[in-house]
Point group: C2
Chain length 200, copies 2
Amino acid sequence: MSEYPASFERLIFELEKLPGIGPRSAIRLAFYILKKPVEFSTSLAQALVEAKSKIHPCRNCFNLSEGALCTICQSSRRDTSLLLVVEDPSDIVAFERTHEYQGLYHVLGGVLSPLEGKGPQDLTLNALVQRLQNNSQWKEVIVATNPTVEGDSTAFYIQQQLKPFPVKVTRIARGLPSGGDVDYADESTLLKSLEGRQTL
Amino acid sequence: MSEYPASFERLIFELEKLPGIGPRSAIRLAFYILKKPVEFSTSLAQALVEAKSKIHPCRNCFNLSEGALCTICQSSRRDTSLLLVVEDPSDIVAFERTHEYQGLYHVLGGVLSPLEGKGPQDLTLNALVQRLQNNSQWKEVIVATNPTVEGDSTAFYIQQQLKPFPVKVTRIARGLPSGGDVDYADESTLLKSLEGRQTL
């Protein structure tokens, strides 16, 4: 005999599949959901199904989009000579929050990672090369993959692939984060902050 | 312009309503759900709707149940002279795990709490009295509300209400938990462990 009614056990089972939700939180969540009016669970259920069915990668840049093109690619206000290459759609949101960058984006869908068996064909690298071939408007490609071993080697790989094109390929700066502390910074960060020093 | 497509924003919004899920976790969960195959979100959506539509309080004891009576009330193996009163259905699961208690249960649906405006009419107290009126099989009612101020006063209230019936009303023991440490126990727990001391 299971401890809870079958449909309750199943809800716990499904909630446990979510990242960061252990068995105890799943039970707590399930009880919470059961106590709420029926609209609570139907709204969540609907949002789950709708998001998954409506959202597709933008045909151009692979950002999240409900139409063929995402809102950034559709906009007429963006600087079409600048291309910022990121790992994931969430990185676009981070850059958009700065309200400074006005160029376009390209979402790789991850980084090259031999350990996880992720090669160039698993990323949107061909599409990136295609974008440079199709248009001559590009002046600069900024590679904003994360400052990790994989992010760095992916950036290097992109730089190699884009050599045939008359475009500047740059990498976002590394150093101490704003509000950071020299005392607490790791050696790699301090080294990068020295290498990238600028005249005052 | 919102940062994400509308249906993605809505999913984040719905996920954020869950207890313990802040804005950052909601975004992380939403991205995780979007990366999974469509079956992932449809299964979770279905489980949400089904659990809420199928599960109702047991007509007898107010435990979670898919039928009119819960599996415990339906069972012919339980000791029908013992009634254990608990706050929530999750407490039943805790007692069932001991594999010792063989009696029946009664779920109050909370405790009396004047501060939260919760009075006797908000609990299943009338139904409890009714259960004692309907049957003379009962020998003992064990009140297992939590050892808190509200739990204690609810237990006292129940004891008052059950005075007219020829039934023993008891309260679960308080003291040091198994594996506990006298050194670290709070004063109230130590006092209770003295008051409830038993001959060796």
